[in-house]
Symmetry: C2
Subunit: 463 residues, 2 copies
Amino acid sequence: MAKQALILAGGAGTRLWPISRALYPKQLLKLFGNKTLIQHTFSRLKKILPPQNIFIITNPTFKEDVFLQLKDLGLVKENILIEPAQKNTAPAIAFATQKIMEKDKEAIILTSPVDHFIKPDSEFIKDAKIAFRSATKNFLVTFGIKPTSASSEYGYIGLKLGRAERPIKKISAFEVKRFTEKPDPQEAQQLISEGYLWNSGTFVWKGKTIMAEIKKYIPRVYRALKSPRLFNKLNPVSIDRGVLEFSKKVRIVPATFEWQDIGSWKTLYQILPKNSARNILNEKVLELDCHNCLIQGTQNRLVAAIGLDNLVVVDTEDAVLVSHLDKTHQIKGLLEKMKLNNAPQYLKHPTVSRPWGSYTVIEEGDNFKVKKVLVKPKEKLSLQLHNKRSEHWVVLKGMAKVELDKSTIYLSAHQSIDIPIGIKHRLENPNKDFLEIIEVQSGKYLGEDDITRIKDKYQRLEI
Amino acid sequence: MAKQALILAGGAGTRLWPISRALYPKQLLKLFGNKTLIQHTFSRLKKILPPQNIFIITNPTFKEDVFLQLKDLGLVKENILIEPAQKNTAPAIAFATQKIMEKDKEAIILTSPVDHFIKPDSEFIKDAKIAFRSATKNFLVTFGIKPTSASSEYGYIGLKLGRAERPIKKISAFEVKRFTEKPDPQEAQQLISEGYLWNSGTFVWKGKTIMAEIKKYIPRVYRALKSPRLFNKLNPVSIDRGVLEFSKKVRIVPATFEWQDIGSWKTLYQILPKNSARNILNEKVLELDCHNCLIQGTQNRLVAAIGLDNLVVVDTEDAVLVSHLDKTHQIKGLLEKMKLNNAPQYLKHPTVSRPWGSYTVIEEGDNFKVKKVLVKPKEKLSLQLHNKRSEHWVVLKGMAKVELDKSTIYLSAHQSIDIPIGIKHRLENPNKDFLEIIEVQSGKYLGEDDITRIKDKYQRLEI
């Protein structure tokens, strides 16, 4: 009966647009500190159990980036589970729990969202110990958070404090009096005054226990595990609405750690350190007379801000968001419009990070694409070929070592080379300085998936 | 004694940053309608006098662009006068008036700023006729504008209405009771209640009259006309502070036209048409719940705006301004910072318009520069050579006809060519579709002025 952990990392997290995009969600971003959200979560769990016991469930699009971000922290590649379809947390948890139980039938699993701010880790570890203890007794344990506002975004849980009401001092797992998912603000206020806590969304339970409760309360989800076709046809359902609201086995550990769900620019504003004017700024911002603002500029660009109050300004390479701090959740409506208009800003960033460096799409048109490619010192791309495009490389800066078919060519600034369709090639930076090249692609199909990797330093043999 | 006109177009107009830049000021921009400010002004004056009688004073940096924008409207190249140094309006007017009088000693000159919104032209023409008539009698005639706010930006002029005060109905040129330049708001309010008018900054006078008054009231300016060295050492002085405030010869024609000095985003907001939420938006803006805003996006980028009120958001390729509508004048302070930091956003845009199309600087580094070059159908660049750089062209789209030394080469998409240092070359688009190329420049010096033009369709034999 080993402790296992499961990180739920399949969400799109578009509420932090424009720095999160449909194909590059918030879990992959550094929003605070020197780690991405998924790195923060993984590191925290590593303090409780060994990295080979940590599983991630995500979708095929993010798989590669998840692995790149976590392999140095000890993630085992096989522990990345791919959800058959995005159907909210209950199907994802059911699917992943089943997979974990194939390896460890008696697993007790801490199941955690990827996008929560938790501090300090030491308190989280202490509370998790209590939760694990309670979970061995076949309970579904969640952490209860003291509400800081009458939010309609969370589940509210009332605790049974025994015959005599007493303040929660000694931390323990409590029985649940009532579970109310997403009440309206008025009801939320009432619940807060009655001492209700928020459901943190982090759970500890035996695999067996949660699977039995899923089978009992959402049997359609349980059945769908046997058939990808059924899974695909499932209506999305959260574990809270599907199981937690009904199960008699829920227990609460009141959290002693500080907690914030990073669900919007507003919540990010709340947790980040502010200057004396209560602004959060970066070095790409020039500002006069601004207060209570989160203003973030981006490389090669400038934000000039004058006389602003209670605003979020987030600039990126190809889009800028300017929103009242209390209205950032309305971004959803604008994203729907972008999706309808096929705006490239909906899907992804022009600059894409790779283990060897990065590339930026400068220009795209019928049958051509121009990229600026940056290769880190001593790094190399995979040995690859393309079936549908030829490429033309011009070196801007540094030295390029090019393997082309059976020959090796060195190119310095201003020199260029043609890479014909179907020919094996590899780009390498042999020097200690960055290598910068312009790549002009030509062909009828220019998708990133037209790549056959023959050898790869970073083990990316699939896309 | 012919009617002449002089357009003052030397100002930097950085108050409309980020669309105006130190090297590309507001007079060259299309801010409303289908014309740039200088084209609006030139077109209006053409309704009063022949184009060969219209002079422009500007500085060397803007000369080329001024000519390109006005040649189709009939501007004679020799009528572009270059001010020896930027010393505000009095020295510029003195210098230009002297030049005009070399051609027409008896000239009566309508002197106009370049950045005023005037509507309708028919009223302006009517008022100008009265002003020209009065100017023949050796008066310095200005147009008086009915104030719309107690602004401290303008000169206020009180009219002598004769023995019996009477409403100004019949338009005529009036004597001046008092001239007060830039009063504080309280005094301005008082002056407005006494019926004072704003000095429009557009004047009509005989060359002889204004030169005599300059000699009388600011003799140092008059003397400086004889010596570039003295001109350079002049303290800047406006014609209002230097002459108008003191001269006994000032006469006022109360304007019947609508007038606005386009001095800031705020004034631009005031004159542009607004939607039902009093917003001014363009097609690059996605917006929810915004009111009283000017929001302007730019090509290849997107602005998402949520819940804004009374804001200006102006996005450009490399910078975005977000300002409270009433505080846009503070941009000056931020521009000073940019200048100090050598921010490229202070000086110019990444995309530069040319008569044959445009180019965008995509990337700049030590010894290299990457440009995307767009050539319009059937247009060609000058036959040119560079002494300090080689170039490498890759065609992205369309067909390129390249003259290189003595040969002519045709390149289609994905083909490339090297242009060595010192070799004559010319790029032409022979087709009916746009030609797009990537140009990689290489060399120790990559300034735009390293160009020797041998032949040019657009007569740009100097820079």
